[in-house]
Amino acid sequence: MIHVLLEILQVIFIIGVSPLIQGIVKRTKAILQGRQGPSVWQPYYDLHKYLNKDEVLSIHASWLFLITPYVVFVTMIAVVAMIPVFITHTLLSFTGQLMLVVYLFGLSRFFTALAGIDTGSSFGAMGSSRDMFVSALAEPVLFITLLAIALPMKTTNLTLITSRAVTGHSPLLSPTFYLAFLAFLILVITETGRIPIDNPDTHLELTMIHEGMILEYSGKRLGLMMWSAWIKQAIMFTLLLDFCFPWGISLVVHGSMLIASFIMVFLKLTVIAIVIAFVEMSYAKIRFFRIPRLLSAAFALSIISILTNFLL
């Protein structure tokens, strides 16, 4: 019983903390740019505002456009229920989860991309085309990177991967880990739509990808789309932590251990958010047709990582 409660708590934690992570990234970026910047709580205020605002919908929008925010949000919650956060147990746990996680991301992207086309706006369809294309290049690399990490663990079950990572000796000495980590970092940046791939802070520029697709949303539905994007970001960060820095994740349900791992996870998420902000600050957005190069670099890294795994 206590397990289930903790597992539900994990889900609520990620959903609740995801705007804060976004706030930390934004605040860090602002400070690095020499600005005051909004408070880290700003995303919560935004969310509250969106959920209370009346909507403006396009006259061309069909039912697909109307249901998409709900589909996307619910899909994200289903993914969260499969991710170990501060205990290795999750609400849903089974073999082949890795693939389900990636394909659920795919499902939310599928609907978002269709919604982008639905209103007839060129920005939406352009963003949709670009997002599907980038994901088509990123998905194989994501899988291979996940495999590079999953192969030594001999499973595709996230709970087992994480618990084996926690109990196993420190992976920090193996080149497999470093290479896979680098590749994974590139993918986290891709999947969360950050510079140098996409710019989450831009609107109405011809470079936008994710923001282009949700351009026609407003009010409650926009709020849900934004929140889903933040949850996805929190999931990607958590996956990175689970695979590469699993220290402190609690294997057993024990009071003090839990509090320790809770604080640990929170700190690690903050650090990741700050690191991502640094990465965003240090690069300019690259040309769209250069993205394949960046991703093929990640591909090469992950393949070499797997090779070292076999050879060493």
Partner: protein, 669 residues
């Protein structure tokens, strides 16, 4: 009802179909009887197939003739049951759909021929699967090819259709030659034509390799594997849509059955390079297929390329199974084979559904060009909904059935990466995983593109204006398939374990247990299962949670409808994104493959103030440019050399005869 009765019924149904088809062709009447019999016989096939799948012992009937070589023989076992089920289910919905769809041709074509053709086509496919000896198999195979050729050229007034038909009939016969040779070699070594007596134990390895390669070429041609696929994207789109559905959904799976028969049942696998070759061809086929699908403007042509891609995935699974067989890992071999079968069945369902959807749009708008469509979701809401379900299934989105097959294929490739010790095999397995997932993501893009440009946004031409929802029977045909896609996606376990019997026919490996729960070696001994239902339950809970949050945090909001924002201008249909524009990033990034070319011609106005343009853009087909073109050029240039001695004068031909005679006399002496 025992299996023997099931077999007898199936054979009788085949005979009924063929004779009624011929009767319709002769009388040019009775189309309604044809429709009814199509539905009834398909149902009968489904029932006898299910019987055969549940009661595995196989049964054979012979129809003897004066010559042993030409005797007919039929057999039924769990594997043939599986393929018969596939034919029956798709046939059933295609027959229902066809009743309304053929009305499209009424007045301008002879509908009775189409009805008869579809009936006979179904029957010949069933009889290939039911065949119990080489003669029956090859005769049915040839009949199937010819009937499908006739259906492809149904609208033969059009130049394009005739060309497509020609290429189809040539390619399919090249395939048949290779297939016949490999069958005859096996029959020669086992001294029997009957499938149950085939015995390749004494066959030398070289001969086995030849049989394998010939089977791969012969069946690969029918299955549309790269580089033998060039007929498929031509022939499938020009056929009437319910026939396209049968061809793409079922006929190319018959090639898979042939491959299972020869390589798995008769040859019982081979050295490891067979598996590597097959899976490699599969992966390349999948990637090239989906890349070409992404740049098509013709909706049905795009679906045809997507069929090539799916056959690639299926053969990737078969190749993995062959690799596991040669590594002596029967459980994983059976699992990958199961993955292939599951994916084959799923593909039959959703591809037929998508062809039905495309056909529905085509029948109302009279165009297949996606760039000219748009906004149909408001005119044809049901068709849009079912097509969306098909698109979600084919893109392997949970909780639809496509995901189940791809999940199993993925797990097979992952298992290979985990069970081998050689780093190169490991990397190969990982690359297979990579190509699987890249294919998956590109398929999603292709179907977002096709659904988006057909059904969403604004109508881009007057073709769409007059569109309205299709008839009830067409909707029933689509709804049935869409429902099955969703049902299998949500409840896969029972269905997949039902296929366990079919696997046993080939591998001898009994997968009685639920494949979602059996431990795949060390990968997951205790918890090897996929649980979609809890995920769905979680999603429903999440929806309730979301409703709660919205109630708690937000107030009840209202919505106003306004025009889409278009940078201050008015939104016109010409401003919406077209299918061609959507796939531009793919064309640019993979230009090594496509060699895209475009030309812009000014037709009116001065050089500086042009008022009208003509714009052409074109991509090349990889295999045609780099493989078929050189071959054709070589043949033609050789023909030109031979032309030198063909001068048309009787004297010189007499001289050739004389010289030949003398040469022969010298040689024979």
């Amino acid at each position: 009802m025992s299996v023997s009765i099931a077999l007898n019924i199936a054979v009788v149904l085949v005979i009924i179909n063929i004779s009624l088809g011929l009767l319709i062709v002769v009388t040019r009447r009775l189309t309604y009887l044809g429709h009814a019999i199509g539905v009834v016989t398909s149902l009968g096939l489904v029932m006898s197939a299910v019987k055969a799948m549940f009661e595995p012992p196989q049964y054979v009937i012979f129809v003897d003739s004066a010559f042993a070589f030409t005797s007919l023989s039929f057999r039924m076992n769990a594997l043939t049951g599986f393929f018969l089920l596939l034919i029956g289910i798709v046939g059933l919905f295609a027959s229902v759909y066809g009743i309304d769809y053929v009305k499209e041709y009424a007045g301008r074509k002879d509908v009775s021929l189409l009805v008869a053709g579809a009936l006979v086509f179904l029957a010949t496919m069933a009889s290939v699967v039911l065949a119990g000896n080489v003669f029956t198999f090859l005769v049915s195979w040839e009949c199937m090819s010819i009937v499908s050729f006739l259906l492809v050229i149904y609208e033969h007034e059009q130049e394009e259709v005739r060309n497509a038909g020609f290429i189809y009939v040539v390619m399919t016969h090249i395939g048949t030659v290779f297939l016949t040779i490999s069958f005859l070699i096996i029959a020669r070594y086992s001294d029997s034509l009957s499938f149950n007596l085939m015995n390749t134990n004494h066959m030398p390895n070289v001969i086995k390799t030849i049989v394998f390669l010939f089977a791969l070429i012969g069946l690969g041609t029918k299955a549309g594997l790269v580089p033998f696929h060039i007929w498929l994207p031509r022939a499938h789109p020009v056929a009437p849509s319910h026939v396209s559905a049968l061809m793409s959904g079922v006929m190319i799976k018959i090639a898979m059955y042939g491959f299972l028969l020869i390589v798995f049942e008769f040859l019982k696998g081979g050295p490891i390079w067979w598996g590597i070759l097959v899976s490699c061809i599969g992966a390349i086929t999948a990637l090239l297929g989906v890349l070409h699908a992404l740049v098509q403007r013709d909706q049905k042509r795009m679906l045809a390329y997507s069929s090539i891609e799916n056959m690639g995935l299926i053969f990737l699974g078969l190749g993995l199974s062959l690799i596991f067989m040669s590594l002596h890992d029967p459980i994983l071999a059976a699992f990958s084979l199961l993955a292939s079968l599951v994916h084959a069945f799923n593909h039959a369902l959703f591809k037929s559904l998508l062809f039905f959807g495309a056909g529905a749009v085509l029948s109302k708008t009279h165009t297949k060009n996606m760039d000219r469509l748009g906004g149909i979701i408001r005119k044809m809401p049901w068709t849009a909904c079912f097509t969306l379900m098909g698109a979600l299934s084919i893109s392997a989105m949970p909780p639809f059935n496509g995901f189940i097959g791809e999940w199993m294929l993925f797990q097979s490739a992952f298992a290979l990466a985990m069970s081998v010790h050689s780093p190169w095999m490991g990397i190969y397995a990982v690359l297979l995983v990579g190509s699987l997932t890249m294919t998956g993501a590109l398929v999603a893009m292709a179907f977002v593109r096709s659904f988006g440009s057909t059904f969403l946004a604004l109508p881009r031409s007057e073709y769409v204006e007059s569109a309205n929802e299709v008839g009830m029977l067409m909707r029933i045909g689509m709804a049935g398939l869409a429902g099955l896609c969703l049902f299998i996606g949500i409840f896969p376990a029972r269905w997949v374990s039902m296929l366990g019997n079919s696997i046993r026919e080939i591998t001898g490996m009994s997968l009685k247990m639920n494949p979602f729960q059996f431990g795949m070696n060390d990968i997951a001994r205790a918890d090897g299962r996929l649980l979609l239902i809890p995920v769905l339950m979680t999603s429903i809970l999440a929806l309730i949670f979301l409703w709660g949050i919205l109630r708690l945090v937000g107030r009840r909001t209202s919505a106003v409808r306004m025009e889409t924002w278009a940078c201050g201008g008015t939104l016109t249909p010409l401003m919406t994104y077209t299918a061609s524009g959507y796939s531009k990033p793919v064309r640019v990034t993979f230009q090594q493959i496509f060699r895209p070319s475009r030309t812009l011609q000014r037709t009116e106005g001065s050089e500086y103030f042009p008022s009208k343009f003509v714009y052409f853009s074109k991509v090349t087909s990889f295999a045609e440019t780099y493989l078929y073109h050189p071959i054709i050029q070589t043949v033609l240039s050789m023909a030109r050399l031979v032309r030198a001695i063909q001068n048309g004068q009787v004297q010189s031909y007499l001289a050739y005869l004389f010289v030949t005679l003398i040469v022969l006399l010298i040689l024979v002496k």
